[in-house]
């Protein structure tokens, strides 16, 4: 049952719970506690994918989120996910995965042939190739798209649920290694609210992978004791399987929790993933460090692995990785991997170390085990392709960094490498903190902080275990104290380990070549993008000096691992190529997300019907039952038209329009914006925000108003009614209501605090029903009590209170369609009742409900503009032919000064006109351009454009509204509307009021 390369004992596996899974169509087995990567290695699967550019065979290099090669397509449609990192996938029963980026199979890949022509794919290949000739771009794209690509996106709807949660805490701790756990327990003991997150399934960080004793007992015993204490603290939240992926402003940290990804069976309740939006007063980053690979010829062969990962696979996953290994390192830490290899029964053929006579504690223990140490040596080549057969060594001079002497071979099938450690500074950098190059440690470490954050442990360049724990304890105490918990003192480090001496690391960004560094080599810096060291030398030779430019030119670090392994080596190589200090080169920008995040998690529950609020009027269900087609107006659903039987839209709209013109139609206008204006200075306020005068308006009267921005451009319009001396009701457009409210409040609060005026949005409180047409008075008289409806008693532009259908109502005699009209407002709770009463009372008149389309057509016949459809924020009242609404007597109103600006008084501004086509049956498409001539060379000067266009059932010909340069002085002139290069429509400029220009019909 167990894999052939599984050790008999050890590891953090549940050997009582075996699992079965499929990789590239073959069935394998593993245990609970495995990752896909460890289970594959335990089954002897080394070849997991092909590289992106040259399609070279690749194997597993790492054991965590740094893994560049082992990207798999996980699961099947609809749950398939591309580019999942095998080292981060917890194994579950029935898991199914396959390699990405290889065809026809991982073992035989046709495109690996491109490896033979790799000198034809130099850095900047894409830029150079695509310069010229342009007609070949399509061909290049076809070829490259077929040979590139990482997996496939699912093409079915995601069946899983995703969640988001907002969380606030005093101290957020990222990472649960020695430093993070120490910080968490120290902060937790003060009573502070603590959240501890870790991307792994188990807490412990590097302790999980190591075989180290803490205070004479295994490190995991220490972890267990800390966790036991943390679990008892009521203010502490522990989040395993949770990646802090982004550090944003004001200590806002995004955390992705993988809730059920590790399980094949869903409980039906839990979401698949959950994003925690954490706002922390203090953040402690204990994110650890990532081992740096060494760069040498054929360093990408399957079987070349990070030394720390070799240890992880042995200690945590009980995998026997080979039969004979060599360890290539420039520092002491990898010597512990030698001991791990020996304990797992792997022969170690030698340690290759560029330093002369390494003499630290660990090298001396290794020596005592009889393992040969080849000092002052480097690996110059790896023999074997899909499996390693041997490595080739040469001597190196420590000071001049030159290789010399004769090479010789060491037989092996596994190479563990360590080029030092890169602190995981991603989150610190994202928070705005600076980085500093530490020469003695040969790595970038956190510099100056920008937010309330501290880095501790190896992410801060602290690699000694005792110091990591010491610093973690202090950081936890300090963070808690900063948020008002504890007394600022800290406990003693009782987990302390034995002191070890270490020799300094020998910085080595690549193994030196014997010849020209720009000659193409197979010394890979970035495995995922196939960037080799020679690519960087070539970029430098071609004049690239900034690491940001070199990154884009060579694609270094542009894979979805964002160069976690390769970037720092690349920066070191560039420094060498340019003869500069690495600290002068700096790093590329660390951007969220630390590891890839699914779109499902980002969207969370905000999809489908929950994506945006839907606003429905009180009468919505009646419209639905009547079969109305709806239109979205902002968040509102408005009836668009009411088809009868099998009517098409045009037929329905024509019928609805004629009903309004000939008898009576009814419109649900509840979405109209309504602002209640109250206070002793209400009239002064209206004087300032509208262009016309409000002083002489009597209680019971209404007036149309035009609202301008300070730039003099029309912003909104509507009718305002005077209900009392200090009480008005303002109507705004349906879609502009929110903006107008904010705009009015801005002026009241910031410029005119002296005005005693209160604004209240009452849009939702009132249902608004408009009855329009010559029979509307007859209809209303059947259901209205207490109001004299005669034209003298209740004239056009008046407002009255009364009872309609038994309900208290405000009735406004206003019209947007140019007929005798009444707009009845009642408490929204009675909206449906009133509507049904109106429909009932209108039976004899053939009352017809009509929608927004008919309403738009009817108002276009009257030449009324719709702000936001006909206007676009660049039209003055004068452009609309509405100079009549600008009161000369007022000293000031918002936008007034702008109306006399040089640009506002140009005579060739685009002005509102009507257009009547020469052929009455032709309807001009909205948005078309108006031109002056039907012939002439392209480009033709544009005179303006069409904003509204309809076939008018009342008039029997088409009508259009548009804006034309100097249009007001072009009445009767013939213009052309361009449809395409060969077709124009001829039309005459007319007055925009097509129907009842004297306005007699609304005033009867």
């Amino acid at each position: 049952m167990r894999g052939a390369y599984r050790l008999n004992s050890g590891g953090r596996l549940d050997r009582d719970r075996p699992l079965e899974f499929t990789f590239n169509g073959r069935i394998y087995s593993g245990y609970v506690g495995d990752t896909l990567a460890s289970a594959l290695l335990a089954n002897g699967v080394r070849l997991v994918g092909r590289s992106f550019k040259y399609h070279r065979p690749r194997g597993i290099v790492g054991s965590g989120s740094e893994e560049p090669n082992a990207l798999v397509q996980l699961g099947k449609n609809p749950r398939t996910s591309p580019n999942q990192i095998a080292t981060q996938i917890e194994l579950y029963d029935g898991l199914s995965a396959s390699s990405v980026n290889c065809w026809p199979s991982v073992k035989f890949d046709i495109r690996s042939l491109t490896g033979m022509f790799s000198s034809l794919l130099p850095p900047g290949f894409y830029y150079k190739t695509f310069m010229w000739p342009r007609f070949l771009w399509g061909l290049y794209e076809l070829i490259l798209r077929r040979s590139g690509g990482y997996g496939v996106a699912p093409d079915m709807k995601d069946p899983d649920r995703y969640d988001k949660i907002n969380a606030h805490c005093d101290v957020l701790i990222v990472g649960s290694g020695p430093a993070g756990l120490s910080a968490a327990v120290e902060a937790g003991r003060t009573g502070a609210r603590v959240i501890l997150v870790d991307e792994q399934a188990e807490f412990g960080g590097s302790i999980l992978n190591a075989n180290e004793n803490y205070h004479k007992s295994h490190g995991m015993n220490w972890v267990s004791s800390i966790l036991d204490e943390l679990k008892l603290m009521p203010e502490v939240t522990l989040l395993p399987r949770s990646t802090a992926f982004g550090y944003y402003d004001h200590n806002f940290v995004g955390v992705l929790e993988r809730v059920t990804d590790h399980s094949s069976i869903s409980d039906g309740l839990s979401p698949r993933q959950r994003i925690w939006r954490v706002r922390a007063k203090e953040v402690v980053l204990a994110t650890g460090s990532i081992e740096r690979p060494l760069v040498f010829q054929n360093n990408d062969r399957p079987g070349v692995m990070l030394a720390s990962s070799v240890s992880a696979y042995i200690n945590r996953y009980a995998v026997k990785l080979g039969s004979s290994a060599v360890v290539f390192t420039n520092n002491d830490s990898a010597y512990s991997s030698v001991l791990d290899l020996l304990s797992s029964g792997v022969d170690v053929a030698g340690v290759i170390d560029p330093r002369p006579k390494p003499n630290g504690t660990l090298p001396n223990i290794v020596r005592s085990h009889g393992v040969p140490i080849f000092d002052s040596s480097v690996i110059v080549d790896v023999k074997g392709s899909k499996n390693i057969r041997a490595v080739e060594l040469m001597n190196i001079d420590y000071d001049s960094k030159k290789i010399y002497g004769k090479s010789h071979k060491l037989r092996c099938d596994l190479v563990a490498v360590s080029g030092g450690w890169n602190p995981t500074v991603h989150l610190h950098s994202q928070s705005g903190g600076t980085l500093r190059y530490d020469v003695s440690k040969s790595c970038f470490v956190p510099g100056i902080n920008s937010q309330n954050e501290q880095s501790v442990g190896s992410c801060n360049g602290t690699f000694d275990l005792k110091e990591c724990i010491d610093d973690g304890i202090k950081a936890g105490s300090r963070a808690a104290y900063a948020t008002g918990f504890g007394v600022g003192e800290w406990s003693e480090n009782t987990a302390c380990t034995d002191f070890q001496t270490e020799d300094p690391l020998c910085p080595m960004w690549k193994v030196p070549s014997s010849g020209n560094e720009s000659k193409w080599t197979k010394q890979f810096v970035d495995f995922q993008t196939d960037t080799s060291s020679s690519d960087i030398y070539i970029a430098a030779r071609e004049g690239y000096e900034s690491i940001q430019h070199v990154k884009r030119y060579t694609t270094l670090g542009m894979g979805n691992d964002q160069g976690k392994l390769g970037n720092i080596n690349g920066i070191g190589i560039l420094a060498d190529a340019l003869g500069q200090d690495i600290s002068d080169i700096g790093t590329t920008t660390f951007r969220p997300n630390y590891t890839p995040i699914s779109y499902g998690a980002l969207a969370g529950p905000d999809k489908g019907i929950l994506f945006d609020p839907v606003r429905k009027t009180a009468i919505h269900e009646w419209h639905e039952a009547a079969g109305a087609k709806f239109e979205n107006v902002g968040q509102w659903k408005r009836p668009w038209f009411y088809p009868r039987g099998r009517e098409f839209m045009e037929e329905a709209v024509e019928r609805e329009c004629l009903a309004v013109r000939e008898s009576v139609g009814v419109l649900d206008a509840s979405t109209l914006g309504k602002i209640d204006i109250k206070g002793p200075n209400a009239t002064d306020f209206l004087e300032r925000v509208y262009t016309n005068s409000w002083r002489k308006l009597q209680v019971g009267q209404c007036r149309y108003g035009l609202m301008l921005g300070e730039d003099g451009m029309v912003m909104d319009d509507g009718v305002t009614a005077k209900l009392e001396d200090d009480h008005y009701l303002m109507h705004t457009t349906s879609s502009g209501a929110g903006n107008v409210m904010n705009w009015l409040e801005l002026w009241l609060q910031t410029e005119w605090p002296d005005l005693n005026v209160y604004l209240t949005s009452v849009t939702d409180q009132w249902a608004t029903i408009q009855i329009n047409g010559p029979n509307s008075r007859n209809l209303l008289s059947k259901i209205c009590e207490g109001i004299d409806l005669t034209n003298d008693a209740f004239p056009y532009m008046a407002v009255r209170r009364g009872v309609v259908a038994g309900v208290q109502a405000r009735i406004f005699r206003v019209s947007f369609v140019g007929e005798l009209s009444y707009e009845i407002n009642v408490n929204a709770d009675y909206g449906l009742h009133l509507w049904e009463s109106v429909i009932g009372a209108g039976k004899n008149y053939g009352i017809t409900p009509f929608g927004t389309e008919a309403m738009h057509l009817l108002r276009a016949e009257k030449g009324y503009v719709i702000v936001g459809q006909d206007t676009d924020g660049s039209m003055t009242p004068s452009d609309l032919g509405m100079n009549w609404i600008i009161t000369k007597r007022k000293d000031d109103f918002l936008g007034k000064r702008s109306l006399s600006r040089e640009d506002s008084i140009r005579t060739d501004r685009k002005q509102l006109v009507g257009l009547i086509t020469e052929d009455p049956s032709t309807v001009i498409p909205e948005g078309s351009q108006v031109i002056s001539s039907s012939s002439g060379s392209v480009p033709v000067p544009m005179l303006g454009h069409i904003t509204s266009s309809y076939m008018s059932p009342t008039l029997g010909h088409s009508i259009a509204l548009g804006f034309v340069e100097g249009g007001h002085s072009k009445l009767g002139e013939k213009v052309y509307v361009s449809i395409n290069d060969s077709k124009v429509i001829s039309a005459f400029i007319s007055n925009p009021v097509f129907y009842d220009p004297q306005g007699k019909r609304q005033d009867v």
Binding site: N166, Y248, D249, H250, N251, F252, R277, R279, G432, S450, E710, D711, N742, E745, L746, Q749, T750, E751, P753, D891, D892, K896, R897, S898, R901, E902
Partner: protein
């Protein structure tokens, strides 16, 4: 996402607020008496400072009050927030 200290409600997430551009710009007392240039300066010209910037924000999903915030445009730190009228505005003309 910023954490903004509404002077009326206290600390709230940025998603509750609406940005209103540069704050404390005073409308000219007598617009008709000033030149097109001065009016255009009031209308269109904003400092867009690199550093400390006085902004106006609306707590739109809260108390619906406009207020002023001093924000550092490089670090995004908000140093202070003020109710309208608490600090003297600078006059543009």
């Amino acid at each position: 996402m910023l954490m903004i200290d509404c002077p009326w409600c206290g600390n709230r997430d940025e998603s509750e607020f609406m940005y209103g551009g540069e704050g404390n710009i005073v409308r000219p007392q007598d617009p008709e008496s000033i030149s097109d240039d001065s009016w255009s300066d009031y209308l269109f010209m904003r400092k867009n400072t690199k550093g400390l910037y006085m902004e106006q924000w609306l707590h739109s999903y809260g108390c619906r009050r406009w207020f002023l915030a001093e924000r550092e445009t490089v670090s995004y730190e908000i140093l202070n927030t003020h109710k309208i009228g608490e600090i003297n505005p600078e006059s543009k003309s």
